[in-house]
Symmetry: C2
């Protein structure tokens, strides 16, 4: 993966090339060995104007041509979607060696453009797109996108969930801040992270309010970056002589639903399928990289994936269980909060972190003896749920 | 599939719903039986503003929720890409019943917006994007998109190929016009076609010049529409009690290359793989639905797929071989020229036509005794080649 950050002078081609070359070197393969590529990108069309063939365009300078290229998007979960498709392509038997690439340039000198593009992860014609936001029916792009007062509409969604959790379970704003402190600390150990400054709980609470209870340091930033993974069958890995390949034991994706409030939510649905596919349970997970687009997202993940009881996520963080050295370190990379969140790159960057951890190559943020990792992405919104959620479970060896 | 045409007052949701419901009825399944969906759309992001989760958004009113939705794009070949992914998903064993949907709203009251969006099917930073066109570095969208004088840049590409074919092989403008006449005649037999008026060769030649030798009636129009297909394994089709399911014998996709001029071109490469996968040859094809974005595209297809010798495509049309009643009817539906060309819908609409023909349900345009059909999509541009090409071979029973 590339470093994550704001890179106004680096193109998607540049970022994608760096990530792919590093993945090929690590896998011991050449660009010419790739049989198919899946390229995840959420907002290149709206932000750079390049639509339709984003994968072919960025793979061209690498000499990856001729092979099928699937351009896929699923909002913030696009990276996990690319990975899942690559997994299915290998499983189908049609391809030996498949590249999964996630890339994003979210930063634009016109901040409003980025914010409007982010809103395209919702159903723009549907009622929830209009709630709580100021509509401007005649924006520059004349596409119904919203004026959103210098914050992404998704922060309002997360804040709504965070407030509900406080009311139902007594979760505190301080507990959310502790998650942010943890992830920013972890990021300070990650040379590829966008933010390398650790922040204390007080500093997190004192940073500007976005939407109560979320302050700026509890929200993921606007980021650019790319990450890549090379997938093949276990047989093919043996043929390549790979000793340290990591096994993808499950790659599951579900979509959001309009559902009765007593029906299983999207996190519960995806967790059940992922654990079943991997034939593992929460007790087997040594570390997790979860979708902390905000600090509340991490609480939601703890509970969805059975790391703690429903409602106990705030205490789980407060008691230090999810810190490095705790019983189940979460977001050792720094997560979306600290490593940064270039939408489609995040899901593949989680895989990068999981692989580093399972191969014992994570340096100062190494989770000792890690054998099983879970990664988790979420994207967009359909009603009260994310539009997409995907989970991967990876095993050493 | 929906009728194709210009539907300023019909949304993507509306078009997609009509196509999906019809596909479900024909397959004898319910929306709730679908295990996964692949949704192809090329330009919704740039034209309607809805990006990221286009599939989830249009499937929501149908009640298709919860299952994984893959949003895929590959310019004009997006429909074939959706179909290919659905095919791979079934082949992987992970899903029983997969929906492939292609949909497009290309028409916009601001024609310039549609033309600029179409240009996003090229590598916008690369040299060929700048050749032969007037650049406007400060367009409304400020994304490097081109001012293209009221025609799609792709028409210049096709015209370049058409002129080269005339110089090398003596192909005539009249021969291109004969293809257009044939396809408009076929479209007049297709109740779902955008253009139902047959045109004579003289009328085609006298229509306004786009880029020599292509006149307007030799170019596909701007269209809206949707088409859907339901895919499953042969075993599952038997379990459903389907007597008339059509077999997808090959679904192959390749990408364009920067290549030496004596290396096999993209059409030759994709044809070889498709015939190998289906274990069939050109002599087995009873009808074809090919990518006649312009009349020259059809000549290119005749030759790529071995319907005639290299260079003989113009004569092949002139001699009537590709007409209904000829030895190998091509584009019995009317093709992109007559049926219309809503980008991502076209590839799935070809499948619709192939299935109708192989099931003997094509009415006045029925190819008698058709047992094997080939469909063909192309999209975007990488250097001198389309960025993507896909081919399906379908067999009755």
């Amino acid at each position: 993966m590339t470093p994550f950050g704001k890179f106004p002078f680096r193109s998607l081609k540049d970022l994608a090339s760096v990530a792919c070359k590093e993945a090929f070197t690590d896998a011991g393969v050449g660009a010419g060995d790739i049989n198919a590529a899946v390229v995840g990108n959420a907002l290149g069309g709206l932000i750079t104007g390049q639509e339709c063939i984003r994968g072919q365009v960025v793979l061209r300078p690498l000499g990856i041509q001729g092979v099928p290229v699937t351009n896929v998007e699923n909002a913030s979960a696009s990276g996990g979607s690319a990975l899942k498709l690559a997994y299915i392509m290998v499983a189908s038997g049609a391809y030996d060696l498949v590249l999964a690439l996630g890339m994003e340039k979210l930063y634009h000198r016109d901040r409003q453009r980025t914010l409007e593009a982010l809103a395209a992860g919702m159903d723009l014609e549907h009622i929830e797109s209009f709630l709580g936001m100021q509509i401007n029916g005649d924006t520059k792009n004349n596409n119904g996108a919203m004026q959103i007062n210098q914050r992404s509409i998704f922060m309002d969604y997360y804040a709504m969930g965070a407030r509900m959790h406080m009311q139902l379970f007594g979760t505190t704003q301080e507990q959310y801040a502790m998650i942010s402190e943890k992830n920013h600390f972890n990021a300070s150990l990650n040379p590829l992270a966008q933010y390398k400054t650790p922040y204390k709980v007080d500093e997190v609470l004192e940073s500007p309010l976005v939407t109560y209870p979320l302050t700026r340091l509890m929200c993921s930033p606007i980021s650019d970056g790319a990450a890549a993974a090379v997938l093949c069958s276990a047989d093919f890995a043996r043929k390549l002589g790979k000793q340290n390949a990591v096994t993808l034991a499950a790659s599951i994706e579900v979509s959001g639903m309009d559902r009765p409030s007593d029906a299983p939510d999207i996190g519960q649905r995806v967790a059940k399928k992922a654990y079943e596919a991997a034939e593992l349970g929460p007790e087997d997970i040594d570390l997790a990289e979860v979708h902390d687009a905000t600090a509340f997202g991490e609480v939601y993940a703890y509970e969805s994936f059975g790391f703690c009881e429903k409602g106990a996520g705030g205490r789980f963080a407060q008691e230090g269980h999810s810190r490095l050295g705790g019983k189940l370190p979460v977001n050792p990379s720094g997560g979306l909060l600290g490593r940064g969140h270039p939408l489609a790159a995040s899901g593949v960057a989680q895989i990068y972190e999981a692989v580093m951890q399972l191969q014992g190559r994570a340096g100062k943020r190494q989770v000792q003896g890690a054998k099983v990792a879970l990664t988790h992405g979420a994207g967009g919104a359909i009603g009260v749920e994310p539009a997409v959620m995907n989970v991967q479970i990876l095993k050493a060896g």
